[in-house]
């Protein structure tokens, strides 16, 4: 334990002595910081204090000195633990106070982060040994690290949005302006009801979200019932639907709808020529966004509801039937009430997704402004009004958080608890005829429509100019992804740059996301500690924060010292990490709940510490889950747009923001071609994953079979 403390102390000393304290704009290249150490902007803490007499850093230097004194003091046992805990807690507080209040010339850099981590881990190892000499430093350290990361990259930015919203023009803080903006007429007005134009964005968002939530739940239920309770043949095809939202870049559905129903769309043309309908822009507005959101989010509802529908215990239905209830009565009075919490959950999910959706309203919204797009326009519009963006962000956040809290409350605290398999035999009864026909009538045309929409992506990418010049061409692909062998390979397509940046950032973000997510899952499933419920809530919260809000909160928080990240690739990676973290957490929790806890305990009683247990027992057994978390966060990073669009920079342009640019210029062909390439990229990734995971499963089955065949095992 003392050894751990000495290691962290050494790390802190090293950071203070040899790593630059502030971000140094002059230093370029990986090792250039060394030469910069001697100059004022690039100096380390030690050099700033000793040579450049930076008085603001004195307290931090003193803290470091005090920590060293504790570590070498010769105290031991509980005394040492108490001394270490208190001194490092004070040091950390001093460092945080410095970061928040001092007048910093630039953003903090590696020296500061190194020192902060070392103080944090000195604190956690102190805490872990407060109770006994060999407390679990690894677990306490992990808890500390996750808390600090989530605090820094989820709560700190949100706090910035709040402070932006509550700041008065004269620099002081107050609620007067906030309330006037929050309840402003232009946000909430209802003139659409009285026929005078459109409503405020908050009203629009709410109305759209309720409609989308209800409709996706109904459609999802119809699909789920068909998939689980009918003799329908192509069930596997239905299940493939669930992969669609994961691999669909955000604008694709909107664009495909434009190709079908826009002024130059196929359907519009057809209706005009054969039936004499006027060519209108009806698809731009509520209807278009609603249809696009239905297409986007129905598969999510389907996925949730399959679990719900299957979760209704067949024995209950059988019991009902033995009491002479008809199939319809059984469904109406037994199954449906049992599904009610699941239906509510699906509704709230659809509701949140719709509120947070950015791509579809951006492409199809027209005059129908919703909060997420209004936030974007408040930042990128003619006059950037970050206060307005902040207030709109808070309005949006209030709605999504409200729905999130409702969902948590509805599902109870243990929403994680998977249905643990008490073998419940019996078969789900089939639907009654009327119900079945209704489901087919609703779901099958919708499935066909989905297929048409997705096939538009293919056609859209090979048609020269949709509606005007319908000849087939590969020009869009060559413009985006052209390459040339004339002298060596040169990639001269316009999209290569952002394509590779996207892959690189996503590939860097994926392992970090998986790491944070799985570490959190480990703490949630396997560890008991004070405040665990709050911890769980905090880590899941980022799920309920819409991407646009993340976007503005990051630019508000990380554009100024103490932490300056805007314009770097790091801010993109971090944004992905904390946006996709809940996915990793959920996956990890599900996988870890399947691992018998006695495996960990066996390892621990055999003398392994928690870290060794995680490394040698849990991680190898979680293999497939880790892989899935990796691929999933990779894919999500590729398709994410709402947060990204605020955070990209000239040096780090991402695929989705490139596509937004094309869409805004009306170059649909190239945008769709790019989307098609992204879809194929992601399909390849998912395919590879299935191959690897599938083979592992095969391998196991193989071993089982060998086991059964082996004659020796039968003896003894």
């Amino acid at each position: 334990m003392k050894k751990t403390a000495l290691w962290w102390l050494a790390a802190g000393m090293l950071s203070a002595a040899c790593l630059p304290w502030f971000v140094n704009e002059d230093a370029q290249g990986p090792l250039s910081f060394l030469s910069g150490l001697g100059t004022e902007p690039g100096a380390s803490l030690l050099i700033r204090v000793a040579v450049f007499s930076d008085a603001a850093l004195w307290p931090i230097g003193l803290c470091l000195f005090a920590l060293a004194a504790v570590c070498f003091s010769g105290l031991s046992g509980r005394r040492f633990a108490v001394a270490l805990t208190s001194v490092s807690a004070v040091s950390l507080a001093v460092l945080v106070a410095y970061g928040l209040t001092a007048d910093l010339p630039a953003g903090l850099s590696w020296g500061a982060f190194g020192l902060a981590s070392s103080m944090l881990f000195l604190l956690t190892s102190g805490i872990s040994s407060l109770r006994s000499a060999n407390g679990d430093a690894f677990v306490v350290g992990l808890i500390g690290a996750v808390i600090v990361l989530v605090g820094l990259f989820v709560f700190f930015p949100i706090a910035h949005v709040m402070s932006e919203a509550f700041e008065l023009p004269d620099g002081s803080y107050g609620v007067s302006r906030f309330f006037s903006l929050f309840f402003a007429k232009e946000v909430w007005h209802l003139s659409c009801l009285s026929g005078g134009g459109s409503c405020g964005p908050a009203v629009n968002s709410l109305f759209l979200a309720v409609c989308t939530g209800l409709a996706t739940t109904m459609l999802g239920l119809a699909f789920a019932l068909i998939a689980t309770r009918s003799g329908f043949r192509a069930k596997r095809l239905l299940r493939m639907l669930t992969v669609l939202p994961i691999i669909t870049p955000p604008f694709v559905i909107g664009l495909a709808l434009i190709l079908l129903f826009g002024r130059a769309g196929v359907v519009t043309d057809f209706a005009h020529e054969w039936f004499g309908f006027d060519k209108t822009r009806w698809v731009y507005g509520f209807t278009g966004v609603f249809v696009a959101q239905l297409l986007s989010f129905t598969p999510i509802a389907f996925l949730v509801l399959i679990g719900v529908v299957e979760g209704v215990s067949p024995s209950m239905e059988e019991a009902s039937q033995t009491m002479r209830a008809s199939r319809w009565q059984t469904f109406r009075h037994v199954s449906l009430p049992l599904m009610r919490p699941g239906l509510a959950n699906a509704f709230l999910l659809g509701f949140i997704e719709s509120l947070a959706d950015f791509g579809n309203p951006l492409v199809l919204g027209g005059d129908f402004g919703v909060l997420s797009t209004e936030i974007y326009f408040a930042i990128v519009g003619a006059v950037s009004d970050s206060a307005r963006a902040a207030v709109l962000g808070i309005v949006l956040l209030t709605m999504t958080l409200g729905a999130f809290l409702l969902q948590r409350w509805w599902l109870g605290s243990g929403s994680y608890a998977t249905v643990t398999g008490k073998g419940d035999s019996g078969r789900h009864c089939h639907m009654s005829r009327g119900l079945k026909l209704t489901c087919y009538a609703v779901a099958l045309p919708w499935a066909a429509f989905t297929a048409v929409v997705y096939s538009m992506i293919f056609f859209g990418s090979i048609v020269a100019l949709w509606g005007y010049d319908n000849s087939f061409t590969l020009a869009h692909y060559t413009r985006a992804f052209g390459f040339d062998f004339s002298d060596g390979l040169s990639l001269n397509g316009a999209a290569w740059d952002s394509y590779f940046t996207t892959l690189k950032i996503a590939a860097l973000a994926a392992p970090l996301t998986a790491l944070v997510g799985l570490a959190t899952a480990y703490l949630l499933v396997r560890r008991q500690f004070a405040g665990k419920q709050i911890f769980e809530f905090g880590t899941l919260l980022s799920f309920a924060i819409p991407g646009t809000v993340v976007g503005i909160s990051y630019i508000l928080a990380f554009n100024v010292p103490p932490i300056e990240l805007t314009g770097t690739g790091a801010i993109l990676i971090i944004a992905f990490m904390f946006r996709n973290m809940p996915v990793g957490v959920r996956g990890g929790v599900a996988a870890m709940s399947q691992l018998d806890k006695s495996l960990d305990e066996a390892s621990v009683t055999l003398g392994a510490n928690s870290f060794t247990t995680v490394r040698r027992v849990i991680a190898p057994l979680l293999g497939p889950a880790i892989l899935a978390a990796l691929v999933y966060s990779f894919v999500r990073a590729i398709t994410s747009v709402s947060a990204v669009i605020f955070l990209v920079s000239a040096r780090h342009n991402m695929a989705t923001s490139f596509i937004v640019g094309r869409v805004e210029n009306g170059e649909f062909g190239i945008a769709i071609a790019y989307s098609a390439v992204l879809i194929i990229t992601m399909l390849v990734c998912i395919g590879l994953l299935q191959l690897i995971v599938g083979q592992r499963a095969l391998y196991r089955a193989d071993r089982k079979r060998k086991n059964q065949l082996s004659p020796q095992t039968a003896t003894t």
Binding site: S132, T605, N707
Partner: protein, 353 residues
């Protein structure tokens, strides 16, 4: 293989889960090299006690020492205690050899020592040559023995078993429990063993601790518990005894005369008794005879079952239903027969009601 065995002491140990008091003020000493069994109905705190000793659960109050050293605040990793789990908890991604070597490997012993000790461990449980298999390629009994090997190669001071046999079928259970007892005695390890099954407990233990509601109801050798239960609960739990309400007619030292209706029995008791008490009689100490005999309890046979080496009867009488095991089988009674039940006084005991 030798092992330094330790004496285990739990003093005033308590465990609370919020409102639930899973273990209340437990005082227990296990002498070095002894095998002690925790026995009791479901939810009485056996597993909790075991896990506190392993360090997997914090104690809410009290003190635990192993080999004289206070380990109350020590984490499981650092306690010289090994545990065999009900589910075996073999690591499915490691071979049998890797499983057995795991504890040695993580304590950074040299490779050669690890190999040698692990092989010796497998030898001890009779599984030499199975090292390269995976746990999924072994039968249940073999897996259980691997789990034992994995625990004993560390030469722990204390070995813990939590219902180690409950996943095995009845025949194998008998076999493996003898093996476990053998290994424990050969190595001279102190052991604490949790089970539901009183026959298993009687068969393997030096001492049995019966728990009830988080407290020790009685502890002692199997013989003591069987012949001198201290309460009706023990008599029922250990010996499936019939509990007959009776009237105390006279006390002389530790011999007591009691009356059940008109029947008078001389039994013994070492506890203070009131006017009424409970007579505990094992089923095989009751005999069915003709009604005409003296000093018998009259009753009607309600159920008769033939079980090969003995007959079982349920007899309805005034004091309640009596459960009789007849090993002599001189006469088979039928359902509905009027019979007299004779009590063999030697092996009964009188308990406070």
């Amino acid at each position: 293989m030798s092992s330094q065995s330790g004496r285990v002491q739990m003093q005033g140990v308590q465990k609370r889960y919020g409102e639930v008091q899973a273990v209340k003020d437990l005082n227990l000493t296990i002498e070095a090299g002894e095998l002690v069994t925790l026995l009791g109905p479901s939810g009485c705190g056996k597993t909790t006690t075991l896990r506190m000793l392993a360090g997997l659960e914090d104690v809410s109050a009290g003190k635990i020492t192993i080999g004289g050293q206070d380990v109350t605040l020590q984490a499981a990793t650092y306690r010289n205690v090994a545990m065999v789990f009900q589910s075996y908890a073999l690591f499915p991604h490691m071979t049998v050899m890797e499983n057995v070597a795991y504890g040695l490997t993580v304590s950074n012993l040299p490779k050669r020592t690890v190999q040698a000790k692990a092989e010796a461990g497998l030898e001890t449980v009779g599984l030499a040559g199975y090292g390269s298999r995976y746990p999924s390629e072994l039968s249940g009994g073999q897996q259980q023995r691997v789990a034992v090997a994995r625990a004993v190669v560390l030469e722990p001071e204390v070995l813990l078993f939590d219902e180690p046999l409950s996943n095995l079928d009845a025949k194998l259970r008998r076999h493996v429990r003898e093996e476990i007892r053998q290994i424990q005695q050969d190595l001279g390890i102190t052991a604490l063993y949790v089970t539901h099954d009183q026959e298993e407990a009687m068969a393997v233990s030096d001492k049995i601790v019966v728990m009830c509601d988080g407290e020790i109801a009685q502890m002692g050798s199997p013989l003591e518990l069987y012949t001198r239960p201290s309460s009706a609960f023990i008599a029922d739990f250990i010996g499936d005894a019939n509990l007959l309400p009776c009237r105390v007619a006279g006390v002389e030292g530790d011999s007591v005369d009691v009356e059940i209706g008109a029947v008078r029995v001389r039994s013994r008791s070492n506890q203070a008794l009131g006017k009424t008490a409970t007579l505990a009689v094992h089923p095989h100490n009751l005999e069915l005879v003709d009604l005409g005999n003296l000093n018998v309890i009259p009753g009607t046979v309600r159920m008769a079952a033939y079980l090969g080496d003995h007959m079982e009867y349920a007899v309805e009488c005034e004091a309640g239903e009596l459960f009789v095991a007849d090993h002599r089988m001189t006469h088979q009674h039928q359902r509905g027969d009027r019979v007299g039940v004779r009590v063999e006084a030697e092996n009964t005991s009188v308990l406070p009601s």
